[in-house]
């Protein structure tokens, strides 16, 4: 019911005349005083109801005195928000329900992992029993169906493995590791990009070019590279050394569809890189270091898992940044770089911690 635009279209006399600077105590005898809220503030988070399964942040609504402006646009903007505040509570109360975009805009965190969340995300639905990989037998709760039976994945097993993977991601990011999130199926792009940006890692949502790690000099030789210190500030002086250098290999790879990316996982195994992957009932669980038995065909399940891992990476990065401010940072990584040939001040060489960071772009060939 489009109340708001109707009122705007048919004139503003439907509401009491709005004068800036006057509180609306007269309009509501029984309700709390409505104050005009700043529209620029981040108000994405809704107050969690009793049945909310994720801890949601409530931002403080600051009270601001509305400014009387000569500009008509500014006054219209203010009036729109005043109207929204007045009429917002009218109508039925819509209780909290599943909104698909929230998994991308506000993903759950590792402490929100519950069996109910995993079941609602259809993560227990496996493939047909005739297509299974027998090594997954202990992750399977049972078989359901008479004509076309499918395997049902055990939710407690999924939850345990997912929590373990979250700990790994947060630990690796806390120590300055680079995490690569890979998800090449249709619809996984946004989840992958979100997770990578939260964990400050790299993402890939198109085909993995075989040899990107083993033949990195060739495939990623021309991509941009930079050296940063423990405070994430770029350090100059290494440009000529970086020209010939291959791209930095990731320290952890999270793969949302291992069945299509077995080449990537094999390259990681060859280069001793630990991997995390969503292992469905037809996937070989030995392909990844940390399997997460779940449904890789359900986009909701993949978004939950990617979101949770991204949040874990975010927490790790926050811890690392806090440590860097205090002076507690991980040891320098060995990338084979020589210190630049410049006259350095005493002690600055010791303070610097080199960490190579590159942008692994999938499109470069």
């Amino acid at each position: 019911m489009i109340i708001r635009s109707l009122i705007l279209r048919h004139g503003r006399l439907a509401l009491p005349r709005y004068t800036p600077g006057r509180t609306l105590r007269r309009c509501y005898a029984s309700q709390i005083e409505e104050t005009y809220t700043n529209p620029d503030q981040d108000q994405q988070y809704v107050a969690g109801a009793e049945d909310a399964t994720k801890s949601q942040v409530m931002t403080a609504i600051s009270t601001q005195n509305s400014i009387a402006s000569d500009d008509q646009v500014a006054r219209d903007w203010e009036f729109f928000h005043h109207q929204k505040a007045v009429t917002g509570k009218i109508g039925s109360e819509v209780e909290t329900h599943y909104r698909p975009h929230e998994l991308l805009s506000n993903p759950p965190s590792p402490r929100d992992i519950t069996l109910e969340l995993l079941m609602a995300s259809q993560s227990h639905i496996g493939h047909s029993t005739s297509l299974w990989h027998p090594a997954n037998a202990k992750y399977i709760f049972g078989v359901r169906g008479e004509q076309d039976p499918i395997h049902i994945i055990s939710l407690d097993v999924t939850a345990a493995h997912l929590r373990r993977a979250c700990k790994v991601v947060s630990g690796v990011t806390e120590r300055g590791g680079l995490v690569l999130f890979v998800g090449s199926r249709e619809g996984q792009a946004r989840a992958v990009v979100n997770a990578a940006s939260m964990a400050q890692g790299c993402h890939l949502f198109t085909k993995w070019i075989p040899g990107t790690i083993t033949n990195g000099q060739q495939i990623l030789g021309k991509c941009k590279k930079k050296v940063v210190n423990h405070r994430d500030e770029e350090v100059k002086g290494f440009e000529d050394q970086l020209i010939q250098k291959a791209a930095v290999k990731p320290d952890l790879v999270v793969c949302l569809n291992p069945l299509e990316n077995y080449v990537l996982l094999h390259e990681c195994a060859l280069n001793n890189i630990p991997t995390i992957g969503i292992v469905d009932t037809d996937v070989n669980p030995t392909w990844v270091t940390y399997p997460i038995p779940a449904n890789d065909d359900s986009l909701r399940c993949v978004q939950v898992i990617a979101g949770v891992l991204g949040r874990a990476g975010q927490e790790g990065q926050a811890l690392r940044r806090e440590g860097a401010l205090v002076g507690d940072y991980p040891p320098r990584q060995d990338h084979g770089l020589e210190p630049p040939n410049e006259v350095e001040k005493d002690g600055s060489k010791q303070d610097e911690a080199e960490r190579g960071r590159t942008l692994l772009t999938a499109g470069d060939a």
Binding site: Y98, A137, K138, I140, G177, P274, T286
Partner: protein, 284 residues
């Protein structure tokens, strides 16, 4: 093991060996984390079946996943055998937070919406029945009422001691009442709309008939071409010298010979080759 590459599981061991032999100077960033969080065990097959009677089935079945069976499965089998078209009704399986099933109270009848008590009434204990009905409606109105609801209602009744067939009859009759009222509402609404000037587009049956007609026309055109092709092949069997044509002429009738003459001018075997006639040209 033969086909399994366990290198992903041995990531930590390999890194430790590299560090020990000084191939690596500093441990990689993931080293400490993976030391404290080792990967899970792989490739083990614990027994999954429930306790078997000793000396019973063969051992290999013990390691296969369990076949899940519930009492409601038998009720579902009976219900959907009696009402096969219920399977054609779409069912929404989307969950909000995974706790949706806990909200529904199946001791409340399925046609509770139709059983509003007289307003102002009171039960024996002094409870206001109309307010009670309102209160129940507020939480239970979102229940999905479908075949699955019948089974759940039947289970709830059986748990209170009602025998199975009686519970089944009670539950399904509640569903019939509700469906009947819903269908009546829809029919009345349609009649009201038509009476007040609304018009409806073609219904699914009409659209289906139109699509079938279109496919039939496609088939008819294809069939005509096929018939033409077959006739051409049949006709080509009788061409060649006139004597041959006369002797081996299939019909022997004047029409048959006329057909043959028409076709004999354009057969692949002749020196002129076959001229393109399409399908219709061969028709006499």
């Amino acid at each position: 093991m033969g086909r399994y590459d366990l290198a992903p599981q041995r990531v930590h061991t390999y890194a430790t060996a590299l560090l020990a032999t000084k191939r690596l100077t500093t441990p990689p960033p993931w080293y400490d984390t993976i030391t404290s969080i080792p990967p899970a065990e792989r490739l083990t097959r614990p027994p999954l079946q429930r306790n078997q009677r000793s000396g019973g089935k063969k051992a290999s079945r013990l390691f296969k996943p369990l076949r899940l069976q519930y009492e409601e499965d038998r009720l579902r089998w009976e219900y959907f055998n009696d009402h096969p078209w219920e399977l054609a009704r779409p069912r929404v399986v989307l969950e909000n937070d995974g706790k949706d099933a806990e909200k529904w109270d199946w001791s409340v009848p399925l046609d509770h919406a139709l059983r509003r008590p007289r307003s102002g009434g009171e039960s024996e204990e002094g409870v206001k029945t109309d307010e009670e009905w309102d209160r129940i409606r507020r939480s239970q109105s979102r229940r999905p009422i479908n075949g699955e609801a019948v089974i759940q209602r039947q289970s709830a009744l059986q748990r209170t001691g009602v025998p199975r067939s009686t519970a089944y009859d009670i539950a399904r009759h509640e569903l019939y009442r509700l469906r009947h009222s819903q269908e009546t509402e829809v029919r009345v609404a349609r009649e009201e709309a038509l009476a007040t000037g609304a018009f409806f587009g073609p219904g699914p049956n009409e659209i289906g008939m139109k699509l079938e007609d279109k496919q039939y026309e496609n088939w008819r055109r294809w069939a005509e071409k096929e018939i033409a092709g077959i006739k051409q092949l049949q006709g080509s069997a009788y061409t060649g010298q006139e004597a041959e044509a006369g002797a081996a002429g299939g019909d022997g009738s004047p029409e048959g010979r006329a057909e043959v003459e028409v076709v004999s001018q354009s057969v692949p075997g002749k020196r002129g080759g076959q001229e393109a006639k399409g399908g219709a040209g061969v028709h006499v």
